[in-house]
């Protein structure tokens, strides 16, 4: 697909030929589709696996498999009949033969493009292209089974439909020197550090599942051996030793899973600044290449848990309006730079979201309201008591240990309260939350979609409240402030409309300048005019 100039008169839709996916596309899509169909059924199939002979009768399995086969066939048929073309500034995707579905995506609405190369696609020499807008939880356009050349041509066509001539990104299969300045590059050592310091419920779930399977092997193989040597194992002190060893083994298993996941996701990761875009590529089995337009960045989050701070690095998450699903914030972020040395965090944040008046560490962040500490302590006590009482009743006498949570929670509440802060500058909002898992969010005030002041019953008793700021695809909660101030911030935080409007002759999406990001000349934000929240 060749580049189209927006200045030329757009061709009539009938004149624009359709393009189809590669003939190998159904083969490349087979495994993802199998996963897509099987995943909803896993919840029903897994329990059957564990109950073994008491499971479903054979004919029910037959029906399940038949439904799966029909679903897979229908989806593969959809891939085989998919056509696409660029008509003027719109990408049109059509699929289905008897029941046709047409989707139109305006190039101006595209937030990001993402090129994926899963393992099977890599074997077949194909890629997947995702075209994301701000409209939903998944990519608006998902083309599986394109050749790298066709994917590149389509991205370039989308790019030039927006009135730019420079290519948006290099083809996935391209090798050699990167087109732009390399901002971050990961080595194996970096990924080992990242994986070893990662936390996540997903990882815990995988480990617990693994332990569940191992327990069965334990009962069949290890338990008879232990019973034969029971006297030696039951010597005083061996119980504690076993418990410590089991704990260490569990931690090692979690770390190992984290490291493997980090390597799978970020192997060969490289972040490049092309001038107009940030391009990140990486991944061992599935290679993922994300292109984020500079002016589409909504907010940047610095994730610095205590362990990573101690080891001298943090992670950077970049959010755009392309909404992604996921349990962890890092999964929801559009672009994640896993390891950034602490000394370079500042530079990277300035590059991604320019215009902060001072270095992040030097910003005079405002503390949370003093009464927020009381609220945090009450929450810590309630949470501890709710866990400790059932533990004491049902696990007596060892359940008494659960009461140790109370002082720990109280200390944790103080640390979290003491080290949080927020600041509204002329152009940005900076929010820092958490001590153990410190997360610093930086967002541009011109990106704000809505602001909400919320006051719960407990907060009402103390005369405090909190403010939620929504940008496209993400939300940030400021630390507690006095309720009156929260109400004031509703008006003060979003940049006034005249300051957000693009100047004459400037395209809407270029309204936010790339460097120095300040309100338009002659305008003054409430912060600049000395409103009460400004520091």
């Amino acid at each position: 697909m060749s580049s189209e100039s927006p200045a030329a008169s757009p061709p009539a839709p009938d004149e624009v030929p359709w393009k189809s996916l590669s003939p190998r596309a159904p083969l490349a899509a087979l495994f993802p589709i199998l996963g897509l169909v099987a995943r909803p059924l896993l919840g029903a199939i897994l329990p059957m696996f564990f109950v073994r002979e008491r499971g479903l009768p054979l004919f029910v399995w037959g029906i399940i498999l038949l439904v799966m086969a029909v679903s897979v066939a229908a989806l593969l048929y959809d891939v085989a009949t998919l056509r696409y073309r660029m008509v003027g500034s719109q990408l049109e995707i059509r699929s289905g033969l008897f029941s046709k579905t047409s989707r139109f995506i305006d190039a101006a609405r595209v937030q990001n493009t993402e090129v994926l190369q899963p393992f099977v696609s890599k074997l077949l020499g194909l890629v997947e292209l995702k075209v994301e807008t701000a409209s939903g939880q998944k990519a608006e356009g998902h083309l599986r089974g394109l050749t790298p050349q066709d994917a590149q041509a389509l991205i370039d066509a989308l790019h030039s439909a927006r009135g730019r001539n420079a290519p948006a990104l290099a083809p996935v299969s391209a090798t050699g020197a990167p087109q732009g300045e390399v901002l971050a590059q990961m080595r194996l050592g970096d990924l080992l550090r990242y994986g070893a310091t990662a936390t996540g419920l997903g990882v815990l779930a995988v480990v617990m599942g693994g332990i569940g399977e191992l327990m069965e092997a334990f009962h069949q193989l290890l338990l008879p051996w232990m019973q034969a040597r029971w006297e030696a194992l039951a010597r005083p002190g061996m119980g504690w030793l076993s418990a410590v060893l089991a704990g260490v083994a569990g931690l090692l298993a979690i770390w190992l899973v984290n490291v493997v996941l980090a390597i799978l996701r970020f192997h060969g990761f490289r972040l490049v600044d092309t001038g107009t875009h940030f391009r990140a590529a990486g991944g061992l089995i599935t290679r993922r290449q994300v292109t984020v337009r500079r002016e589409r960045i909504q907010q940047v989050v610095l994730d610095e848990p205590l362990l990573r701070r101690g080891l001298g690095f943090g992670s950077v998450e970049v959010e755009t309006a392309g909404v992604r699903a996921g349990r962890e914030p890092a999964e929801r972020a559009e672009l994640v730079v896993p390891v950034v040395p602490t000394a370079r965090l500042e530079e990277l944040v300035r590059r991604l979201i320019p215009g902060l008046p001072a270095a992040l560490e030097d910003l005079p962040l405002r503390p949370a309201h003093p009464k927020a500490l009381l609220r945090a302590r009450i929450r810590a006590v309630v949470l501890s008591v709710l866990v400790a009482i059932p533990a004491t009743v049902f696990l007596w006498p060892w359940g008494l240990l659960a009461w140790a949570m109370l002082p720990l929670q109280l200390v944790g509440a103080w640390f979290d309260w003491r080290f949080q802060g927020w600041l509204v500058t002329d152009t940005h909002i900076v929010v820092r939350l958490g001590f153990w898992r410190r997360r610093t969010t930086v967002l541009h005030r011109s990106r704000i979609q809505s602001v909400k002041a919320v006051q719960g019953p407990l907060e009402r008793g103390y005369g405090i409240g909190h403010v939620q700021v929504a940008v496209a695809g993400a939300q940030t909660v400021l630390p507690c402030v006095a309720w009156e101030e929260a109400r004031t911030l509703l008006d003060a935080i979003p940049l006034p409309r005249h300051a957000r409007q693009p100047t004459q002759g400037v395209r809407a999406e270029e309204a936010v300048p790339e460097e120095g990001d300040v309100p338009a000349p002659g305008t003054e934000s409430p912060a600049a005019s000395g409103s009460p929240f400004r520091l």
Partner: protein
Amino acid sequence: MSDTQPTLERLPPAALTLFRLAGLIRIGVYGLLTLVAGFILSRTDVGAWAWLLPLVAVLLCAFMLIWYPPRAHQRWGWALREHDLLIAHGVLVQQLVSIPAGRIQHVDVHQGPIERALGLARLQVYTASGGGADGEIPGLARETADALREKLVRREAEDVV
């Protein structure tokens, strides 16, 4: 706030009827669900004590039916200002939502059967933030909802996501 404490438009009296009817329906739904749960539990060792479950649920819902609607009706309010749409609501958790002008992507007006009978409508305001409506005003008079929708969608969109 800049125009300190703006005068909020309040919901019409018919909205209170809507909230009460919604409360009645809630009693019916929760009553039925807990009745089924109570029936199943009564067949176990719990015995006749299980019937306390629907009783408590219905009593709680009845209390909420008396206590909640007037307060909710009193708390709901909205103001269309130069720079934003302001919506206030909440009895236990109070909320003030400000949606800047020009950020509104689309506005929906819903009318269920009860709302239609009462001549009311529910207005939902969406921005690009994702995850559902950013602002919602239930129990507006249909004419008010239409007029408000017209004013909101006619405002110049900035299209800066």
